[in-house]
Symmetry: C2
């Protein structure tokens, strides 16, 4: 490949001048500029990113960290669109994306440590409240630019997340709007932020309809399908008209429990889930649920990170974004019945 030097010689100028032209710096004579541009064109020259990276100390590479401990993430509906969002947004701003799986195995894992201060200018970390994480706080403490996808209470890094509370409220209000009054809910582990937020939204909705929260109608589960099934079995004793389930996965478990009890969805019990996993539209009946703007999440994470990277003074702006969700009405809520 042609180098800066080749271009300089071809154009009869110094390397410094060529560099100026390439980087669009002011103070280059227009004539000289066109001469340089012509040479660049003729030689089909492209600046060598590695050399540039060495000189500028910025590689225009951002990392994406995904915990390996949660291998499920890879089978998940979440990972591909998120990654797509990240890569697209990054490419649009001239950045490359480097993928890094990392585990939590403490210092043994010098991999991630060498990754940082290595190629990446900064990184987007997918955090799951389900796992403790030693690495991320350390990286952040070392001043490595980090943006998290999902909230992680122990860290105050900029983050993007969906508005779980508002989403849950919307879902619940939908059930109320179409006439259900005796509402139950299946939550995730109540010591995690996400289930807390979604439960807040549930209560918000009840409150706005002047309905008191009945503790017997609130059952906690572990976010798995089986957990949802068990929780629903318990909930059935309370004979709710409708149930807001905090995740589609659990909702599918609930569906099975309802069926097993000889009841029908939505005629006997209406169901609303959360997440809009691909399976949600495929079960019988299809789940009404809350869709997350996953790809947008990736986009915004990139914006946030680049904002930090490119204007270092700006760190106070745009922290902790919350993106709106969308209600997807299908059959499980019984809305169609009332039309």
């Amino acid at each position: 490949m042609a180098t800066l030097k080749d271009v300089a010689e071809a154009a009869g100028v110094s390397r410094a001048t060529v560099s100026r032209v390439i980087n669009g710096q002011a103070g280059v004579n227009p004539e000289t500029r066109t001469r340089v541009l012509r040479a660049i064109d003729q030689l089909n020259y492209r600046p060598h990113p590695v050399a540039r990276g060495l000189a500028t100390k910025r590689t225009r590479i951002i990392g994406v960290f995904v915990p390996t401990t949660v291998t499920r993430l890879f089978l998940d509906h979440f990972f591909p669109p998120l990654l797509q969002g990240v890569v697209q947004a990054a490419a649009g701003r001239g950045y490359n994306v480097m993928l890094s799986l990392f585990s939590d195995e403490g210092d043994r894992d010098s991999y991630a440590h060498s990754v940082h201060n290595g190629y990446m200018d900064g990184a987007i970390a997918v955090v799951s409240a389900l796992m403790s994480n030693v690495l991320l706080p350390r990286l952040q403490a070392e001043g490595f630019p980090l943006v998290t996808v999902g909230r992680w209470p122990a860290m105050d890094a900029p983050s993007v997340d969906v508005d779980n509370r508002a989403g849950a409220r919307t879902a619940t209000e939908h059930l109320l709007r179409i006439g259900h009054r005796r509402l139950g809910t299946i939550t995730g582990p109540r010591d995690l932020p996400m289930p807390q937020d979604r439960h807040q939204g549930f209560e918000d909705a009840l409150r706005s309809y002047g309905i008191p929260v009945d503790r017997r109608l609130v059952v906690e589960a572990d976010l798995t399908e089986l957990g949802g099934m068990v929780a629903m079995q318990r909930l059935l004793e309370e004979k709710p008209e409708a149930v807001f389930v905090q995740s589609d996965t659990m909702a599918i478990g609930a569906l099975k429990a309802i069926r097993a009890a000889g009841l029908r969805v939505p005629q006997d019990i209406a169901l609303v889930g959360f997440d809009d996993i691909p399976l949600a539209s495929l079960v019988e009946p299809p789940l009404t649920t809350i869709r997350q703007p996953i790809q947008l999440l990736g986009h915004m994470a990139v914006e946030l990170l680049l904002d930090v990277l490119e204007n270092p003074g700006n760190k106070n702006a745009h922290r902790q974004l919350q993106l709106p969700t969308e209600l997807v009405v299908r059959a499980s809520c019984g809305a169609l019945r009332t039309r």
Copy 2:
């Protein structure tokens, strides 16, 4: 961060010597070596990958190219485990993975062109016979090290793929073994390599049982669920006992068509699919199918690529790997009935 120079001063040697120690080159006095190692340890020094990349002209970054035109790939069951396989294998050999989506829009897309000869030492390209691709052959022609996942007839790059023919044969033989004789098949577009291979396998199986291929029992579709449904409707007129469907997606369509005709799977018609998509185990009845070693595909692609990268003479070895598949017996084939 500490640099090579710092280490050299701390250890009282020259930078060259430190470099030798780091790279494990012979011809360093053991005493000196330990002195250097101690200094490295004390300063918590790590070689700067960018600087190293500039000097050696190897970045230890490999790319993964995924076509954006097939955005479906991102929603697909294929992408996450493949990527996981690639990243893991790469990390195991000290390589980083850079993700690149690319479209096919010809020269407009200078993105990929700049990517090449940029950071990446080489790349793994996911090819889909469903799309024509201008970029990949050009990159290869320019001498850029490339390994494809999936075969692409127009290119003779090293590749990894599943053994479609053997897999299809296994699937079909399974139907024959459990007693079915009048077999139909739903194929993908017959001008593409993958459907051709799978159909070969189907015929291999029939042949090994001495059964002639009846053209009326071979119906072509477009690999979609709807296509599978339509194809099955046509196939129903021929009253097959069992059908080998070239993809789970089409098989699910076929399932619906059979149901719509008032028939039962597997009692009236047995079904075997291919791919083992996540949905395959969730439909009613669960699909018997052929599982692909997707993660392993990623692993092997990396091995192949690094083989090319690290011993450039070796290019003849290990081209065009075919990985074995696995029969997953569930309910749709009716095997359980015969037990």
